[in-house]
Structure formats: structure tokens, C-alpha cells
Subunit: 269 residues, 4 copies
């Protein structure tokens, strides 16, 4: 009796072929619940609003945790794609990233019931509810494409990030030596002047810290021109990755309109 139910549940939750209307309804319901949870998480911090609607926020939290707990239990029970029945396979499935996110998304509710809680701990748990945003990963194609692009450009991104880091260390050290005397508060140490370097080279430029000495400004100008170009490289790599991802999807199946032969992935830029 249990076996067919497990089978049905697997199809409803994972829906490998994406055609079952009930599976689609469940997906839509869970997706809507996650989005509503994110909205609640955001609105709860607007004090006037959250105090006036405390009851509803609590009720919605209980409902959500209930549904997510049932979902998690069901997913653990039916197991992963291969559905090997051994305990090792079960554990391996339970420790996969998506399952961990599902667990961490409901834990903040149960932990205070199990452990003696203080305020700091409760606050950290509240923050952990942010994990529910990551539950979107199961449903959002955008996140999956984004992860794929990052994976594909991993090496370049790592190279660019290391270059950015080295530039950050050199420029904040130099600025510390040049501006420390004139502005002992703003450039009190190298870690402090790293804040300046990041705010400058990302071109955010809040205006809370900036060089005032002549040498400092000259150095800042040179650093800004060099550094900004470097800091823009990761963005350029990501953009190129997105454009390529799209092209490779489109040109994989392109055929010549006259002879019908495949043009191959390499025939265009």
C-alpha cells in the first residue's frame, strides 16, 4: 500500500516530465507560498504594520512552517532522483544543497522549542528565515541559469577576483600611508582605508571618506582609473557569460535554411 503512495508522491513533488496538472498545481502553490513568505519577511520589519497585524503574521508563519515541514518530510521520505532505498542514499539525498535549504528554512521555527533561547539567538534564527528566499532555487529558472553561467566562467571570475583583491590591498595600503596624517580618523588603519578603496573602486562613492591631501588625490586618481577598470572586469565576464549562454542555446540547433544541414555551434561569434 505504501509503495504506490510513495511513487505518486514522488511524481507530484519532482514531476520529472512536467506534464501532470496536479504536480503543476502543487509547484504553483509552493512557489506562491514562498513568495508570500518573502513578502511577510520584508513587511514584518515595518514596525507599525507588523504590530497592527501581529496575529496574521503569526498565523501565516505557523501555516507556512506547517506546509514546509510536510513538504520536507515528504521529500525525505520519497528520496532523490535515483531513489535507491538504502539508508546511505537517504542520507546523501538529505544532505544535498536543495534539501539542506529546505531544512534550514523551517529550523528557525523549531529550534527555540528545543534549546534554551536568548534574544541574540532568536534574532539570528529570524535571519535564518532568509533561507526561504533560496527555496526559490528549486523553482526559478533564472537562478539556475545564473548558477550555470557562474560555473562556466568560474576560472575567469576567480582570476579577476584575485586581481581585484591584490589591487585592493595595494591601493588601500598606499592610501593609508598618504592620508593617515591628514585624516587620522577616516584612514586610521589599512582595514579602515579598505572601506575607502572598495567604495571608490566600485564607483559607489558615498562621500563619507575621500582623500584631501594633494598626494592622496593624485594617488586616488591613478588608483581610481586603474582600479575601476579592474573592478568592472567581473561584471563584463558575467555579461559575456549570459550572452554566450543564450547564443549556445540558440545556435546548437540552427540549420541552414536551404540544405537543412546543422550549422554547428562554431559558425557564429
Amino acid at each position: 500500500m505504501a509503495k504506490p503512495l510513495k511513487e505518486t508522491l514522488y511524481l507530484l513533488l519532482e514531476d520529472p516530465e512536467g506534464r501532470d496538472p496536479r504536480a503543476r498545481a502543487i509547484r504553483a502553490f509552493l512557489l506562491a507560498l514562498i513568495l508570500l513568505n518573502i513578502a511577510a519577511l520584508i513587511l514584518e520589519t515595518v514596525r507599525e504594520f507588523s504590530i497592527a497585524n501581529e496575529f496574521w503574521f503569526n498565523a501565516f508563519e505557523w501555516l507556512s512552517v506547517g506546509v514546509f515541514t510536510v513538504e520536507y518530510a515528504a521529500r525525505v521520505w520519497v528520496g532523490g532522483p535515483g531513489r535507491a532505498s538504502g539508508l546511505a542514499a537517504k542520507v546523501r539525498h538529505a544532505l544535498s544543497p536543495l534539501m539542506l535549504v529546505d531544512l534550514l528554512a523551517i529550523l528557525p521555527f523549531y529550534l527555540p522549542l528545543l534549546l534554551p533561547a536568548n534574544l541574540v539567538f532568536l534574532r539570528a534564527l529570524r535571519l535564518m528565515r532568509l533561507m526561504r528566499v533560496l527555496k526559490l532555487g528549486r523553482y526559478s529558472e533564472a537562478i539556475q541559469i545564473f548558477c550555470k553561467v557562474v560555473m562556466r566562467k568560474k576560472e575567469q571570475l576567480v582570476v579577476a577576483c584575485i586581481a581585484v583583491l591584490i589591487l585592493l590591498i595595494i591601493s588601500s595600503s598606499l592610501m593609508y600611508y598618504f592620508e593617515n596624517d591628514a585624516q587620522p580618523d577616516a584612514f586610521s588603519s589599512i582595514p579602515q582605508s579598505m572601506w575607502w578603496a572598495i567604495v571608490t573602486m566600485t564607483t559607489v562613492g558615498y562621500g563619507d571618506v575621500y582623500p584631501i591631501t594633494g598626494m592622496g588625490r593624485l594617488l586616488a586618481s591613478v588608483i581610481a582609473l586603474l582600479g575601476i577598470a579592474m573592478f568592472a572586469v567581473p561584471a563584463g565576464i558575467l555579461s559575456a557569460g549570459f550572452v554566450e549562454h543564450d547564443e549556445s542555446a540558440q545556435t546548437a540547433s540552427a540549420v541552414c535554411p536551404h540544405c537543412g544541414k546543422p550549422l554547428g555551434p562554431g559558425h557564429t561569434g
Copy 2:
């Protein structure tokens, strides 16, 4: 007698072949009138200038609305490209985006005559005159190319925007938890700290809100480096779209490497 007039009007207003000198003159006149309307809209808000020239602004508004009304009536009468004569076709044509823009561009003048008006309502109507900027869509190739590029890159832009949105939620939530104690005004709620997140990750950095705690700055640095790269992706996609649009116009003469026949402009992403 009416039929030939309708035919003539259609040719004058739509000018499918773009060679009739009178049609060109009408296009140029309407385009100039729209540009003058935009100039008037902008200058009218410069108080000293608008008070001194109130009569001329009003006269120009009456004239413009008169011309645009005649143009709208004529366009409704002659109908759309297919010019099927049935009422349904007429209605369908009248509800097309370009026709709606034409209607909304003159409505702000007529509505106060029909409805009891108060100040807020009058102000909203004034704002609706901005629709006249969109009337440029009928004449500006730039807007049409821009829309085409956006359409072509639609999926990528949607993916990038969802990723941007998720990053926005996560980073503003984290910053709220880290900076709320130190700056209860600037980071009073997650929606408030979203303002910080947007100002930072777009690299605008007005300097009205910024982290001051050590943890907040550390987090802001990491978020800035990640987020800025992500926020730059839509711009990169749009740029690539513009470049490709140009290239696809140029590579219209590419040939298949197998049979040597032209591939046409549409064979690549």
C-alpha cells in the same frame, strides 16, 4: 466622394512607401509639433518663465490639442494598415498601442471639461501630457530599434532582473539585521534598507545612507562586489543586443558553409 478623401488621408498619414512629399511634410510638421510640446512641457515648470509667457503657453496648448485632435480623428476614420471596414476592425485599430497613446495625449485637455475637477486630479492630468513624449514612438527609429533589441533579449533580461531582485532582497535583509541597531532611522525596516541596497548596487551612492558598523561595512563590501557585477549584467545584455542588431544587419549576406546559399539575417541569435 468620401472614399477617395479617406484614401488620400490614409496615404498622407501612414505613407506606406515614404515617397509622397506632402506626407513627408505632414510627418515633419507633426514631429516638430511633438518636440515643441515636449519643450513647452519642460519650460512650463520654470515658474518665472511660465508666468511671464502664460498666454503663449496656453495658446500653444490649444493649438497643439487642436492639431492632435484632428490627427487622432483622421487616424480613427481612415483606420489601420489592413483598413477592414467593419466596426470590430475600427475598434481593434483604436485600441492599438500607438492609437491609445494618441488618445491619452489629448485626453488631459478634454477631461476637466467633462468631469468635476479638483487640484489633485488636475495635477495627474498634467502628468498625463507626458504621453506626448511617447507619440515620438511613431516617428523615431531609435525607439523602434530599442524596442526590438529589448524584445530580442527579453528572456535574458528577465533572468537577469529576477537574479537582481533576489540579490536585492537578500542583501537588504542582511543589512537591516546588521545596521538596524546602529542606525535605527536609516535602516528602520527592510523596505527602507532596500533604498540603501539599490543606491549602492547601482553604484549611484548618494551618500544619504551608508553602513557605519564594522560588520555592516564588511557585509556592504562583499555585497557591493557581488551585487555590482550582477546589476551590470542587464546593461551588458542591452549593449550586446545593440551590437548584435547592427551585426545582423551587416551579416545579412553570410552564406552557408555547406551549400553556399545566403543564410539571411535571422539565422543567428
Copy 3:
């Protein structure tokens, strides 16, 4: 007797083959003089420095104008590339952009001698000495490549700029209507709020003007996200233009290393 001198001068000044060592020396001397003139122009505005060295600044100005005048006279005399000897050809050559720049670079010195001068006029003339920067155009390959790239991407740049302009008008009008009540000084008119729009959408974000109302911030967020992507497009087009310029120069002559046949400009991205 005059003819050979003219011939020699033409070779020295224009040096079509770029091999004459005397022509090279003249080029180097004129280039150095222009660079020194730019340096003088900049340093002259540092009051303490210019007062202490007034004599040398004046002497250098007289010397420079002398040399540039001789150069200009010689160039007018020897004529342009074709060196047709008619008066019409002479005038046509004298009105070419490079010759006009040469004339405007020395005029600020002579005009006060010819016309009754007042202070405002003298100041404007001082500004005209900036033309000497443009004299670099004759010597700097960088400027020539830059102009070529801009020319090649002209249509795209125009399209992007018109789109940027329309976005600018719409967003500054909307912000004016939303923020005018809360900040009547900063957003006193649409032209005023255009300053905000430009500072925001270029992501400069000085922090002198920013929205403070909830609606204003919401709108500014949406505008920022859209607008920044648009404002980045011209930069993307220019960058692509530079990269293409380089590639087209390199791949024009690429051959297969095995069979020696040209690969053609289209075989790579």
C-alpha cells in the same frame, strides 16, 4: 627658386612617406611644443605658480605663438595633399578642420591687438587657447582611431543617445511631479530635476539632490534600474567598437598556417 622651397617645405610638414629624418624632427618638435603649451595652460591657473613665473609664461606664449604662426603660414602657403595651385583650392584647404584648428589656436593672441578688448572678451579668448589641445589631432593616432570608431558606430550611438534623451525627459518629469512638494528647491522645475536625473543615471550620485519621499524613492529605484542600463549602452557600443577595430585590423591578413589561404574577416567572432 620658390617652387623647390615650397616642395621641400611640403615634404617637411606633411611627410607623406614618413621617412625623412628632418620631417620627423619637425613633427617631434611641434608635438613637444603642443604638449608644453597644454602644460602651461594648466599650470597658469595655479595662481601662486603663475604669478611667480609670469615672465616665463609670457615668454613661452610669445615663442609658441611665433612658431605656430610660422607653421600656419607655411601650411597655408604649401597647400593641401593635392596641392592644386588655384585660389579656390587654397581656400578649401584653409577651411579644412585641421587648418581651422591651427588658426583658432593662434587667434587668441592676435585678436586683442586688432579689436578693442574688454575683460569678458579676453577671458573667452583665453579659453580658446584650449584649441591647442586639438592640434594634437594631427599627431595622435589615438584620436584618429577614436574618431574612426565613433564614425563606424555612429548610427548605433545616435539611436542610443536618443533613447537616453527620451528616458531623461520622462524620468525627470515624473520626479518633478513626485518630489516638487517635498523639496521645492532641489526639484523646482523639470530642467532642475534633469540635473538629478543625469547625476543619478550616469551613477555619479554626488548626493546634492536625491528623493526623500516614499513614492519618489520607489520611482527613483525603478528609474535607476532601467535608466542605468540604458545609459551604459553607449559605453558598451564604444567598447565593442574599439575591440572590433583591433580585430578587423588583425584578422584582415590572417591566413591558415597549413594551406596559406586567407581565412577571411568572417571566420572568427
Copy 4:
């Protein structure tokens, strides 16, 4: 007896084949020591921390300099890749960039022992310890790839930088003439207004200097729109260089469309 030791040392330090486990251990140890040195350099400027741990900072400095000195001596002794034994070859090797960096990284420790030292001199030496960051160049592939990309795009970067410089001079001169009267402090000279120009065109926009006159703002808007596009070009070129670097590694297997033989990694720009 000395020869085999020299041979062994060479293999341990340079490890041309990268397989010797002892050579790898030495590399890892030296890399870790460099990273710890960088961390110490940064943390030493945090006053409370450095005073409390003065002894450990000093001990670590002595240890590091000891190891780096031994390393430097060993590298000088075993010589470079070719290992020609003449004195000229030794000197040539000792003057190679990587060896100079190694020398400059330990000099700040020894110089005060040799020369009479004052405070300014000691401070400059402290700054020279930053050279240890550059010692990473021997170990970090990221830096090597970055240098390769910069080398490959050298000409384009130079062209873009000259264009940026010319734009900088023109725009800061114009702004000086327009804003000098209204803000004699912020725009007191052209070098001063260059600070504004750099802060604006890199889009950093601290907000310490900005135009306030109508003409100044109009000019700043035009300059910002033009200049920002130009300043973004070097970043675009670098990004393209990174993407191409990766592609050229991938397209190493591309074949000639004529003879079908592999084209090799170097056949494109």
C-alpha cells in the same frame, strides 16, 4: 659536492616540471608565508591590535625576513632558467623583475642597519614592505593571466587612455572657466578641477565638489554623458581581453575551413 646541491636546490625552488612533492611543499610554505606577511602588514596598522601583540609582530617579521633572505640567497646562487655560470648571467638573473621584487621585499629590514635612519625614511621603508604583495606574482596564475591580457590589449588600452587624458584636460579646463567665479575654492585651478573631472567621469561622485551654476551643470551633464562612455572603454577592453583569453584556450581546436587542419591557439586576435 656543491654541484649536486645546487642542482637539487634549483629543482626544489623552480621545479620546472611541477611534480616533485618536496618542491610543492616549499612553494606552499613560501606562498603561505607571503600571505601571512600581507595579513601582518594590514593588521599592524590597527593600533590597539599591534600594540598588544608587538612582540609577535616583531618575531614574525624576523622569521619572515630570515626565510626570505635564505630564499633570495639560494635563488641568486642557483641562478636562472638557463643557469649559465658566468658572472654576467648571474647579474642579469639578479636584475630580472621577479628577483628585484624579492630583493626589495627584504631590503626594508636591512637598510636601517646600514644607513643612519630618520623617521620619514623609516616610514618609506615600511611602505616598501608592500613589495611582498608582488612576490605573489611568482605563485599566482591570476596575476600572470592578468598581465598577459594587459599585454595583448596594450595598444588599445594606450589609445583609450590617451583619449581619456585628452578628454580630462578639455573638460577640467572648461569647468574651471565656468565654475571658478562661483566656487573659487573647489575650482581654484585646472589641476584642482581635474579632481572634479576624475571623480565625475569615473562615476565615483563623492559629492565633495560639484558644479552649482546653471552653465556649469549643463556643461557637466554633457561632459558626464560623453566622458563616462569614454572612461568605460578601458574596462570594456579589459573585459573583452579576459573573455578572449578564455576563448583562445578553448578554440585551440578550431580547424581551417579549407584544409581541415587545426589552426592553433594563436590564429586570432
